[in-house]
């Protein structure tokens, strides 16, 4: 019962974060909102597993937690240095 309320709240929050992703003025607003969307997706997957009586979905939620962290850092590194660490952009020219 309470899990249904929580997953509905996750859906509402996801819509709000999606609106912020669409109209964020800078790119960092969008990165931040995508990070929040990832957190809400993790919670939604775990709650869905509990509602459907199959808690094995928690493994997928753990994988999403790791991917969310690494993805945020990859996008931020691309913004700040201009490359993902393979080669400096001055040497590429």
């Amino acid at each position: 019962m309470m899990m249904l309320v929580a997953i509905s709240a996750c859906a509402v929050c996801l819509v709000m974060a999606l609106v912020r992703t669409m109209l964020g003025p800078t790119a960092f607003d969008r990165v931040l909102a995508v990070n929040a969307i990832g957190t809400l997706i993790i919670l939604g997957i775990a709650l869905h597993g509990f509602i459907m009586e199959r808690p094995e979905f928690v493994d997928i939620a753990l994988l999403y937690a790791i991917l969310n962290f690494i993805g945020t850092f990859a996008v931020l590194k691309l913004f700040s240095t201009g490359s993902l660490g393979d080669a400096p952009p001055s040497r590429k020219k």
Binding site: C13, T26, A36, L43, A46, P55, L62, F69
Partner: protein, 139 residues
Amino acid sequence: MMDGQMLITILSGFFIALGVVALLIGSLGLLRLPDVYCRIHAVGMIDTAGASFIILGMIIHEGFTLVTVKLVLIGVFMFFTSPIATHAVAQVAYKSGVVPVGRNLARNAGAKTTKTSAAKSNGVAKKTGKTESTSRGTS
């Protein structure tokens, strides 16, 4: 008459309700606050308070199983990584020149170049912020 199952249900429902409240407040703040740095505050609310309370409610609902161990892993991982992620967002945003809104911050940013009154330096800071945002849009 309150047996153990009912107590578990009530406790997990209470913690999940706390998490839902934190989630809604943080998401509303992400939508309504005026600045990147203010929105980082709201996202920190979602990531730590909301996720931790909902995961705690699920742990209480589940009991001692292997799923509980995985939920604890998710909770610990998110509790340590989401402040790092928001800190990195703030650092990269500050280094790439996003000016924070706010009267005192704008006055300090304007006081380095011109020593004028507060209202005038506010205008200066607003103007510099606008030009920075346009330059960022073109680059």
